[in-house]
């Protein structure tokens, strides 16, 4: 009985953590390159929508691919405005999230003639949760390795810390940032795809603030992909616990658990958990 509960809980954590982990890893890459990752919410939402459309047309695999591409598309637009258009990353992020919200609603009516949800689409069964969760964690490991052990990662870190120094060594700052943001969009889009495929359909506002939680995980994880993923899993665990304990826990405690990721981020920002330093050139244009 307790074993069964535990297994169910772990599976729930895996299932919930996928979009958090993928978006947090993507957000880490974007911020390490110096671009504020405020657009994660829009990337997740767009990814989920595109995945639903893709899955309806060609099954879950096509859906996942479409989700990643949709998220990457949002990343490309954001990067174009911030990197080449030199606009403020926060302003663009707010705009992109608003456009994604309205855009998916408009597109839903165009594709499915409904303002609230898609019809049931071919998705992934509950059995995929473990595999997807582990795959997301693997992605965070790969991202961590890429950041520390490859030339690309070295350059991304350089560009996020000191773009002028990178430029003086012949590195194309704009191109690297563009690539990192597009990649972050693809990862977040893939996370969004999981939402739609796991739910066997897209619903309005499907991302539901997960992009902001992922951003919180980036900060909690001190801009390291592994720790960000860990923070994302912790946030997912609180959500899973809240869902499982709904019957047991009183109303007040439930709201507190819901707020936990945000409260923890505020605590982290206060420097209580030790100094966490964002990339030196985060949000600064060159």
């Amino acid at each position: 009985m307790t074993t069964a509960l535990l297994v169910a809980f772990v599976l729930a954590v895996f299932r919930i953590s996928v979009p958090y982990v993928l978006a947090a890893v993507g957000g880490t890459l974007s911020e390490r390159a110096g671009v504020v990752a405020l657009g994660l919410e829009g990337m997740l939402l767009t990814g989920a929508f595109c995945a639903a459309v893709g899955a309806e047309a060609g099954g879950p695999a096509v859906g996942a691919l479409a989700g990643a591409m949709g998220g990457a598309g949002v990343g490309v637009i954001l990067a174009a405005c911030v990197v080449y258009g030199r606009a403020d990353g926060v302003v663009v992020g707010v705009a992109i999230n608003l456009i994604a919200l309205g855009g998916t609603r408009v597109a839903m009516q165009y594709v499915w003639q409904s303002a609230s949800s898609s019809p049931t689409i071919p998705g992934l069964s509950g059995g995929w949760a473990g595999a997807a969760g582990l795959a997301a964690l693997a992605v965070s490991g790969v991202a961590a390795a890429a950041l520390t052990r490859t030339a690309w990662g070295l350059r991304v870190r350089a560009v996020g810390e000191h773009p002028a120094a990178a430029t003086s060594l012949g590195i194309d700052v704009a191109q690297l940032r563009f690539g990192a943001v597009a990649l972050s969009g693809a990862l977040a889009g893939l996370g969004g795809a999981w939402l739609a495929l796991d739910n066997h359909g897209f619903v309005d506002r499907m991302s539901g603030g997960r992009g902001y939680i992922a951003l919180a995980a980036v900060i909690m994880g001190r801009w390291h992909p592994g720790f960000a993923a860990l923070a994302a899993v912790c946030f997912a665990a609180t959500e899973a616990a809240q869902l499982q304990l709904q019957a047991v826990v009183s109303g007040g405690a439930r709201e507190f658990i819901q707020m936990l990721p945000y409260l923890l981020t505020l605590v982290a920002l206060a420097g209580v958990l030790g100094r966490s330093r964002p990339p030196a050139a985060l949000g600064r244009n060159v």
Partner: protein, 496 residues
Amino acid sequence: MSGTLQWRSVGKTYGSVVACRNVDLVLSAGEVHALVGENGAGKSTLLSLAGGEASPDTGAVSVDGDEASGPWTPTVAMANGIGLVHQHFMLIPPMSVVENVVLGREPRKGLGLDLEKAAGELTALAARVGWTVDPWAKVSSLSVGQQQRVEILKVLWRGARFLLLDEPTAVLTPSEVGPLFEVLRRLAAEGVAVAIVTHKVDEVVHVADRVTVMRHGEVVARLEAPLTAAEIARAIVGREPLPPPQVPRPQGQGGGLVVRGLRVGRALGPVDLAIAPGEVLGIAGVLGNGQTELVLALAGLAPDALGEVTLGERPLDPRGGAAAAARAGVSHIAEDRLERGVVREFSVADNYLLGHQRRLAPSGWLDFGALDAEVSAALEAYDVRPRDASAPIRSLSGGTQQKVVVARELSRPGLRLLIAAQPTRGVDVGAMERIHEAIAAAASRGAAVVLVTSDLHELRALSHRVAVMYAGRIVDTMDVSDASDLRLGAAMTGAR
């Protein structure tokens, strides 16, 4: 011509400022070539043009006599053997030495980086030059002198044949300068062409084979070894030193500025000093020996300062903010005009108001009538052109902006202490003379004056006494009549 880096009739303009104009220069293998001149003479611009960080409006840069066919970018410049060492280091503090060195030209092993190989090469290269470095140390843990070595190794590792250093000694302690010059001479002997930019005459004499003197963006003299300091100094200034303005010796004693045991972090102190009302104390020293911290502390802008400061026998809190300092009668001509001195986006009038907003708003509401009257009078008195108080301050030249700053700071009623930090840096001759007059006038009206300057002419022309700072302390104080080059130089290098 192999082994040469040539600037051919290059010119470069930033906005309305001519950085350099029609400059011809050749740097050859085996020489140490010094580019000297005052701030803003165009020396650093020549280096960034060679390094591909800016492109010339006219003329071109060529290596070994061949002009590049495509655009002259940092990558192309590096591939042609040009190694640029910036005054503000281009190092990434949280990364290791070896990561900084290989960045942009990473040795790879499969998908990953081969840092071990690069670390070995780096250690060997350092040994050849006569240094030891830890390739795995974080740059943020290194001293400034060590960071400079990393910068030099970085460009040498990339195969630089032309080593261009922008103000390399500005950040070094005097004991580090000699060893650096030895390394530069050794590199030149190995066939590297070395160019250093500096505005310090004494250094040039020691290290350079040839000297090119620049003024207002143009080459005004080319000198060869044997060099004498006097000859170079005359070429740099281009005029006889100004006759000192009449600053009468202070009459009364007491009631001026008294500083006891002032410290700011590890950068300053403890410092003790006293300045009588009407006295000008000149502060000399190599850049970065605590002058900035001293200025900020006296201006009330050093939150981590410790110690006791009194002005007119009343305490002055070095942590208390600029508003409290202003109330006590402190005026501050900031060292970095464009950062601290003026708000670039504000009009002339609003910039004049900055620091006077409390006095000109006794009820909380700004008295625009009084402001307009004061600004008009100030523009007239300092001959600020155009006489347009609503003009954005960034539309004025540097010297004119500084005149507005000086006018603002000297109009403080009850002025007791004037802190003038590099008051004429990047300022034209006309504005310079006007600013000198104004500082002298403030002293003769009874203000104690702290004058921090790296211009020795200015120092001697205005000061009654001179204090020399080294490693955060005042190491020598003398009457201005005793401030010989020899004595100042000895104090500035910490020899006393």
